[in-house]
Symmetry: C2
């Protein structure tokens, strides 16, 4: 059985249960981390036992926000210790960050509440609250907390602010709505430490990362279609030279998107035996999601990703250029 | 006579007058431009005759938002054509952008309403509404419009969103409050084209500017005091190489501020026979305004500027390093 619940019903779940495990998607980004840890803080503040599970290491820049988290959990412990499992910000059953001992089928056999903002969420939990108009899972978490009628503690406010800020690119992406800004305002009023969040997200770039980016921009950027398409393949030597890892690459593609006249941007890098591609669009009328889907990837209209098993970066560039040419032509009249 | 008026009184001024001239400070930034042009749109939508005067050219990236503006105005025309002059975002009488034919004394002899958010506004207009807790003049403009009870047209919403976004660094600076975010939400609800604003402000960087920045970061950044101070002197050759002008340098210093561990950042460049210095702080407990004031400059705690008539950049760097060393010592215990 898998059913949709209302916001109020979901809030009722949180209030009724006492021992709660909170989960997100694998390779947590700012919103996964913020929504889960903010929920943990909110629930603990209500006197509940609440734990967060993150089987893989958290990104360096967010680590100071996390405090101690569970890094592994057996089935027995999950069965014995928790009467509710809350999953946040995870669109796909196979991407639930639950560690090798648990799996989606097991989780779905439990009291599982699935809270998400992604279109096409396929977790199929017993209870689902999906709002694809929300900018971030953290935005929904704030609404949920408000629906309980309980106060939002300062720590949860800070963590949810982190989640909203990172998923909206500091309120610059088109997912930012009036509601997003009002809920963020409520978090500031609740004492969210926005200065700490902003410094961690935007003003904590390691010097070597900055130099990596500078060299990437100097040496690797190509443009096509009258500058409307900008792309870059990152050579493996560049990663090595600056000891840079794509785990810290959130936002890297924005460096291509920020170029004047660019409509579509793509960033290409080798991972294991394949090439990973990130794509962005700056205009709603030229969505990159169809390109990604046609190549076995997916995402949103404005942001999508693909993995391609091609022999070299040049082959990837050629495939993408062909697709982007189809998307951007004919050039609209000025 | 110079007196403070309430928000409601200021709103009443707008409603009562019919022929209104709107002014800002010289070298208009996003907020000066947005607040003035948004006000023009708002007033025209009420059926009034409203004009904006910008004697100096507008920054390239904002020009498409402006439409036709007055670039010069004689005293006679100002006397004859307008029964109210509204000044927005201008802290100092000598910085009013009114062209050579007008001056502050003349303007103060008129029906002048001075709307601003800077601490220490010294315009001394007949009527003043100064709110230094507002993030931007555009934020006050929204409140003013709401106080009139009249609807905000889409164009004004877009322009005021531009003003708030640029003065808050996309809601990242510490001047962002719950009120800021709520008023911005009201603008989105009124139809503000945030996508256009964001693309103009953050995603319209000329490629040569990006390369200028990349080379600056590769070649010119120095750090001191265990990385807590980052600074760069821009060599004149670099400006020439990329045909870059500091008129487009809004935000350049954020590249230094974004480096991990930096508390204070300074950017130094030659202008005419002097050196201009921009300074930023990332932490409220280390304000840069006192340093700027001690060297004849000024600004806010987190952002200040100085002009120094010293023989070379090395001399400027030495003076600043000495001051910043005094500010940042002793190093607090971790």
């Amino acid at each position: 059985m898998s059913k949709s619940v209302s916001l109020e019903e979901a809030a009722g779940f949180l209030l009724r249960h006492q021992r709660i495990l909170v989960l997100a998607h694998q390779k947590p980004d700012g919103d996964a981390l913020g929504s889960v840890l903010g929920m943990r803080s909110f629930l603990r503040n209500l006197g509940k036992q609440a734990d967060a599970l993150f089987p893989s290491p958290l990104p360096e820049r967010y680590r100071s926000f996390a405090g101690p988290v569970l890094t592994a959990l057996s089935r027995q412990e999950a069965e014995r210790n928790y009467d509710l499992i809350v999953l946040l910000d995870c669109a796909n059953a196979e991407r639930i960050a639950c560690g090798p001992a648990l799996d989606a089928d097991f989780l779905r056999s439990r009291n599982l509440l699935n809270i998400d903002h992604h279109v096409g969420n396929n977790v199929g939990a017993p209870y689902n609250y999906i709002d694809s108009t929300a900018s971030a899972a953290s935005e929904i978490a704030v609404e949920l907390a408000q629906a309980t009628g309980k106060a939002i503690p300062v720590e949860a406010a800070t963590l949810w602010y982190l989640g909203i800020l990172t998923d909206t690119g500091s309120f610059r992406f088109t997912n930012t709505t009036g509601k997003t800004l009002r809920l963020a305002a409520d978090l500031l009023d609740a004492g969210a430490d926005s200065e700490r969040v902003v410094n961690a997200v935007y003003f904590s770039k390691p010097r070597r990362q900055q130099q990596f980016e500078a060299e990437l921009l100097q040496s690797c950027v190509k443009t096509a279609l009258d500058g409307r398409y900008a792309y870059a393949s990152i050579p493996p030597e560049l990663f090595a030279k600056y000891d840079f890892d794509m785990r810290d690459g959130e936002g890297l593609i924005d460096l291509l998107r920020e170029i004047d006249g660019t409509v579509v941007a793509a960033l290409i890098y080798r991972k294991n035996d394949s090439y990973k591609v990130s794509m962005r669009s700056k205009l709603r009328e030229f969505p990159v999601d169809p390109i990604a889907r046609s190549l076995g990837g997916g995402g949103h209209d404005m942001a999508a990703g693909i993995t391609l098993a091609l022999p070299d970066a040049a082959a990837v560039e050629a495939v993408l250029l062909d697709k982007v040419t189809g998307l951007l032509r004919p050039v609209p009249e000025p």
